[in-house]
Symmetry: C2
Subunit: 182 residues, 2 copies
């Protein structure tokens, strides 16, 4: 698996069912959401700008994409969380797209730009580690079938010792990428 293939397989609309585990209290929250992932041209000005903000050569951007989500939690029927961000993978030279950096215009855990490191395991699992000020997020994404994606996320304390929350999402494709539909 390489980053170009991984992004290509991820394009489209997904219905996501996520269970968030609070580890200290051992209770959980269910979130249902819709996630749209669409390709962005590497020459898009927003891609260039995000690269330059992080001091990265825009020519190194690979398969940038846009992600938008809209979700409902079982904790509060009225709470609908939604958002979107631009994601720009930057492959490490010589790695054949096996590892590199991921620039994000807005992080999950904090509402500011994030810079994570990704790699693929021998089994094709995408592993992303994103450091934040007081914590780090560790995500693992893999395909069960071409139309089923799994995502396990953990938030670790910044000393790397404790895991505060963990979540598991099953994501089922509900429509093909826009380019294929058209």
């Amino acid at each position: 698996m390489d980053i170009e293939t991984f992004v290509e397989r991820s394009l489209g609309r997904w219905r996501s069912q996520r269970s968030n585990h609070n580890l200290a209290f051992q209770h959980s929250e269910e979130v249902h959401s819709t996630i749209d992932i669409g390709a962005i041209a590497p020459t898009d000005p927003a891609v260039t700008q995000l690269c330059l903000e992080q001091g990265i050569d825009p020519d190194l951007a690979r398969s940038p994409f846009h992600m938008a989500w809209k979700g409902e939690s079982d904790w509060d029927d009225n709470e609908i969380s939604e958002g979107s961000c631009l994601l720009v993978p930057v492959a490490e030279p010589g790695s054949n797209g096996q590892r590199g950096q991921l620039l994000r215009s807005q992080g999950y855990a904090e509402t500011m730009p994030a810079l994570g490191k990704y790699r693929f395991t021998e089994e094709g699992v995408f592993v992303l580690i994103t450091p934040y000020d007081r914590a780090s997020a560790e995500e693992r994404i893999w395909f069960g079938t071409p139309n089923l994606r799994f995502r396990v996320s953990m938030i670790r304390t910044s000393d790397g010792q404790g895991v505060v929350t963990a979540s598991f999402a099953s994501e089922i494709r509900s429509s093909a990428p826009a380019a294929e539909v058209a």
Copy 2:
């Protein structure tokens, strides 16, 4: 990671919080349970018997263990599921405990003995695939910290194409193995 180390780290009592995702209906069930994992002597008659039933040389058994669980589902307050089984890893000769078979006196998905295949990924994730009559179970277990175990399970249709259910468990150690407590 090898099977002896993995079993050793798993010994003790764990509080498990599991989210079962039904993928067709996208609803989920929460199960809280207590899991006790204890070492069994390789020379125990039950180990020998389970090996012989599966046509395996009992001398190949490594780190056999006993597992007992007692759980409550959020679907039915009165439903308490409990059970126990004996598990016997059989290392593949020459694999340094990196892969082999796992004999189980009783499977999760069906109440009959099961014979699965295990291996460890380069990251130390224990992967177990157990074929049943009309389905196969795929489990991945790894440690977030020495006292935190994660387990992702999937049930695939026997043709390997569809995934019917997926579950995620966070398991937190609540006491050390009996031998260390004493």
